[in-house]
Symmetry: C2
Subunit: 224 residues, 2 copies
DNA sequence: CACTGTGAATGCATTCACAGCG
DNA sequence: CGCTGTGAATGCATTCACAGTG
């Protein structure tokens, strides 16, 4: 059940499949075809079949895929079945709080064990059942809690420093939400995610879809 | 200055170039080579040159690119130069607040004109200089403020409904952060962004990088 | 029949490699 | 020289199209 290499893009879709299958299971749907799955998620049926085929053969000709079995299988493949990942959150601002509050992680075995902050106003607070620790303790806490995944949700200026501390604390994967690239040694997997970019891409597409200037809003005031 | 088609992946990098060029400009760097730029951002030099070449020729052989000129040019291309986009935020929870607070948008001419919420506790509050309106008013507000871009930061269950209201309100692009896919007519550009997926991908990569089970944390307690 | 699983074909994106230029 | 700009080559990802199957 372990082929050599899986396209990155496919891995991204894997959790979407799992999510959709969970919905179908709730609705007591027994079987689902690649076409059906694809329509719900906005892909093509061929795409779905290809993705699944990387991992084996789970379908039945003429019937499709058994929902609950496929779901379990994909959860196994994703590494979130009957298993737990220890996650540390660095930066309990708005974005960090949003992540802490998202219940989807817990359902997928991604458990926040540690949350740290630099702001003394926030240290000591308990959010979602987790008490916020001082930023200085990050390295030590990461070690004692056997943190595997670190999330960076701090201002850009300190992102790299935080990253280094996470690496020193032994984490093996880092997701960085700060608008600045961070680097780590190759044994640590890093993913830089920039939510602002999506908005800027929209500006690009809009400004070329109609060449003309848009309605000038009410009085192009600049700054706040 | 308007070629036919630009790779999506290139557009994504465009704002990263702009950001890096802004840094360089602050540091009074006059010229930068594709190599230099690439190293800072984690791409290859060929990639940078290729990306820029889609839009024209901005470099000088032997010297590289003039930082401030390239920055201006790219901002023009991105559609964020001397121009303003009106943005509406739907959902002023933690994620929504994080987006409101991010100063990068304002610097790029992406201005929040409207913020709406369903939660009556939050309606009427002023956040980042913007007063939160009731969700019911979304359509009307979008129209009167000539909103071009809508951001969805609400629970998955209501995401599609919000999307429909934004469309009815005349927006032309939507960025959806809810963990559920939303659809709109083809004239409206939709981008579904799922921050949770990044974490789940990490679980996948980690679980296959070492086949073994991880340290069992301290007592695999489930749930909070 | 309705559907899967997959070679083969196509379409994107990245990288190579080098001619040409300041 | 050092560096750009770009054809040509390579490498991924998606889609086509269909033989095979319960």
């Amino acid at each position: 059940m372990i082929p050599r290499h899986i396209p990155d893009a496919c891995v991204e879709r894997l959790s979407l499949y799992v999510r959709e299958l969970a919905h179908l299971e709730e609705q007591r749907v027994g079987f689902v075809s690649s076409r059906h799955l694809a329509q719900h998620l906005g892909f093509t049926d061929a795409q779905v079949r290809r993705d699944l085929s990387y991992f084996g053969q789970f379908g039945t000709s003429g019937r499709g895929y058994e929902v609950s079995r496929l779901r379990t299988t994909l959860r196994d493949i994703l590494g979130i079945n009957g298993r737990v990942w220890n996650v540390a959150l660095v930066g309990v601002g708005n974005l960090g709080s949003a992540l802490l509050a998202y219940q989807g992680f817990r359902q997928r075995g991604l458990l926040f064990r540690v949350a740290v902050e630099a702001n003394p106003r926030i240290i000591g607070r308990t959010i979602e059942g987790l008490t916020v620790s001082p930023a200085k303790q990050l390295g030590a806490l990461a070690r004692t809690h056997h943190i595997q995944i670190g999330i960076i949700a701090v201002p850009a200026e300190v992102a790299q420093r935080v990253c280094d501390q996470l690496v020193a604390g032994g984490v093996r994967a880092i997701v960085n939400f700060a608008p600045a690239r961070v680097e780590a040694p190759p044994r640590v997997r890093v993913r830089n995610v920039d939510v602002a970019i999506e908005l800027e891409m929209m500006a690009f597409y809009l400004s070329r879809s109609n060449g003309a200037a848009p309605p000038p809003a009410q009085g192009v005031e600049q700054e706040r």
